[in-house]
């Protein structure tokens, strides 16, 4: 009998790396993974809430990142146009504006001019923003005459000269201001990179949040299963055996959360795609809307699962050691 015991322990140690052991190992993992999923289903409310929180926390930075990507994409298209908009004072007569435009046309630094009447401006704005009804509240059209000037290639390639031209136009009589498109282009540019940075910052914080939330969920799970864990340890369950279903629970929460996040991103994308499309048309740009790709789905599921495992690990390391049969 003594020999039997020795052989048994030896078997466990020796066979650790054999192919048979590998099959057993894989089968056990499959079983544990499946059974922990079944256990999550047994508590739909808890599971649903946790998955929702994870989904929102993953979807938010993803949406921000997509927004930044969209902005950058749009910028790269409209970056080529760089008009100077000359805004006249309110109430300036159309003849005067036309006359000026004609005069500027003869300037060698200017390639073309285009007069935009207040009514045209209004139309454009309505198309732009879908906010036409706000302006409908005004009795008179509040927009001034605008002359859109396309500088010549020569000037465009020399920022200093371009600056001089803008200043000259700005200083003209009856002109309220002359604004180089590049100004707001730059602003838009820095906004895009700000949103880009922001999405990483927000993503980092929310990843931490996910870790904490899942860690806490797993802690509650451990608390609920205390009796079971004690019995398992009493009959010779290793730390690994006790740990495994808990890590899998974390993995499932994260994975399901990631998939739900992909769904959220898709829904939000669908909701904003119509107004966004209109906006893009008004900018004469044809940026393709980011649609939910498999790559994104996979990424969200992967990061979700990763965070889930990590959160479960942290919790298990903290709380499992103290549960011992008394």
């Amino acid at each position: 009998m003594n020999r039997r015991v020795k052989n048994k322990t030896k078997f466990v140690r020796l066979a650790e790396f054999s192919p048979l052991r590998l099959v057993v190992w894989a089968r056990n993992h499959f079983k544990v993974g499946r059974s922990s999923l079944v256990r999550l289903r047994a508590e739909p409310l808890q599971t649903g809430l946790t998955v929702c929180v994870v989904a929102i926390a993953l979807a938010l930075p993803t949406l921000l990142l997509q927004l930044a990507g969209l902005g950058a994409n749009a910028l790269s298209q409209i970056g080529e146009t760089s008009d100077i908009n000359v805004y006249f004072d309110l109430g300036v007569q159309s003849e005067i504006v036309e006359e000026r435009a004609q005069a500027w046309q003869n300037d060698s630094r200017i390639a073309s001019t285009e007069v935009i009447s207040p009514n045209q401006g209004l139309d454009e704005f309505e198309q732009f923003s879908g906010l036409g009804s706000i302006l409908a509240g005004f009795e008179e059209n509040p927009l001034p005459y605008v002359v859109r000037i396309q500088p010549s290639e020569q000037v465009l390639s020399r920022p200093a000269e371009l600056q001089l031209l803008v200043q000259a136009l700005d200083a003209e009589e009856r002109v309220d201001s002359a604004i180089l498109d590049l100004v707001w282009l730059n602003r838009l540019n820095s906004m895009v990179s700000f949103v880009d940075r922001l999405s990483y910052g927000v993503g980092f914080l929310l990843a931490l949040g996910i870790l904490l939330i899942l860690g806490n969920t797993i802690r509650l799970t451990i608390e609920n299963r205390r009796e079971e864990i004690v019995v398992i340890k009493l009959v010779g369950g290793t730390d690994r055996f006790v740990r495994r279903p808990l890590i899998y629970a974390g993995l499932w929460y994260g994975l399901l959360g990631g998939l739900a996040a992909a769904l959220l991103v898709a829904i939000v994308g669908l909701l904003i795609s119509m107004p966004l499309q209109r906006l893009l048309v008004s900018y004469q740009s044809s940026v393709a809307l980011p649609d939910l790709s498999f790559a994104l789905l996979f990424k969200l599921a992967f990061y979700g699962a990763l965070l889930g495992c990590a959160g479960a690990w942290i919790s298990v390391l903290q709380h499992l050691r103290n549960i011992e049969p008394q």
Partner: protein
């Protein structure tokens, strides 16, 4: 198989639960551990299970010092022991079958082998027909027997029981003691802590008697003494 060599156990509060206890339990032997409440019976069993560690002296299992097991070694040590503890009973979130199968699941036995052994163990305790039920639906005595099936399903070398007949009627108690005796007759070493002196006398087996943490009698040879307290 089990050697207690001058073992003392002091709990963190400063209470000495065991004082210089020395005895030996040979392979294939069956013995009872008796003594008044608080004498240290459960403590002694916990030392064998490596749930507690001795403050002084050594507990040897198959010649190996349990103090040197380490955290990694403890589960493998426990797998060689079957244990029936009153307060650590069954899990009510799963069937009788799954409860009994737990020790096999832990060591990763394959499903057909598991089913065969679980049914054999349940048959042994006369509850094979209950395998699909939830243990909640069973009486106290039946639950105790399921606990015993779980303790023997993986064919342990040693069977430990802490007051296994605690709240059972005399008839059922005798039945359970007979069950232990049967396991012993097929080679399992058995150590049972109990208050039930009449049952112990009936079986006429070795008695290890503790009193206030000291060994009162039964250090080596079979004796049949009355209670000391």
């Amino acid at each position: 198989m089990i050697v207690f060599d001058n073992v003392s156990k002091r709990y963190p509060g400063g209470h000495d639960a065991l004082k210089q206890v020395s005895f030996e339990l040979s392979r294939g032997e069956m013995a009872f551990l008796t003594g008044h409440s608080g004498a240290g019976k459960s403590t002694l069993l916990k030392l064998i299970m490596a749930m507690e560690h001795s403050s002084q002296g050594q507990v040897l299992y198959d010649g190996k010092n349990l103090a040197r097991l380490g955290r990694q070694g403890i589960p493998y040590h426990r797998r060689r022991i079957g244990v029936v503890f009153q307060n650590h009973s069954l899990l009510f979130d799963r069937s009788v079958f799954d409860n009994v199968a737990l020790p096999l699941a832990i060591s990763g036995a394959d499903p057909s082998e598991t089913a065969r052994r679980v049914r054999a163990a349940l048959d042994k305790v006369g509850l094979l027909h209950r395998e699909t039920q939830n243990p909640v639906a069973l009486s106290g005595g039946e639950q105790q027997r399921i606990g015993i099936a779980r303790a023997v399903v993986h064919k342990p070398d040693l069977l430990l029981a802490d007051e296994p007949t605690g709240n059972l009627d005399p008839e059922l108690s005798a039945e359970i003691m007979n069950l232990f005796h049967e396991f012993n007759s097929v080679g399992v070493t058995v150590l049972v802590a109990t208050h039930d002196i009449s049952l112990v006398r009936e079986l006429g087996l070795r008695q290890i008697v503790l009193s206030e943490g000291r060994l009162a009698s039964g250090s080596a040879s079979p004796v049949a003494e009355g209670p000391r307290s």
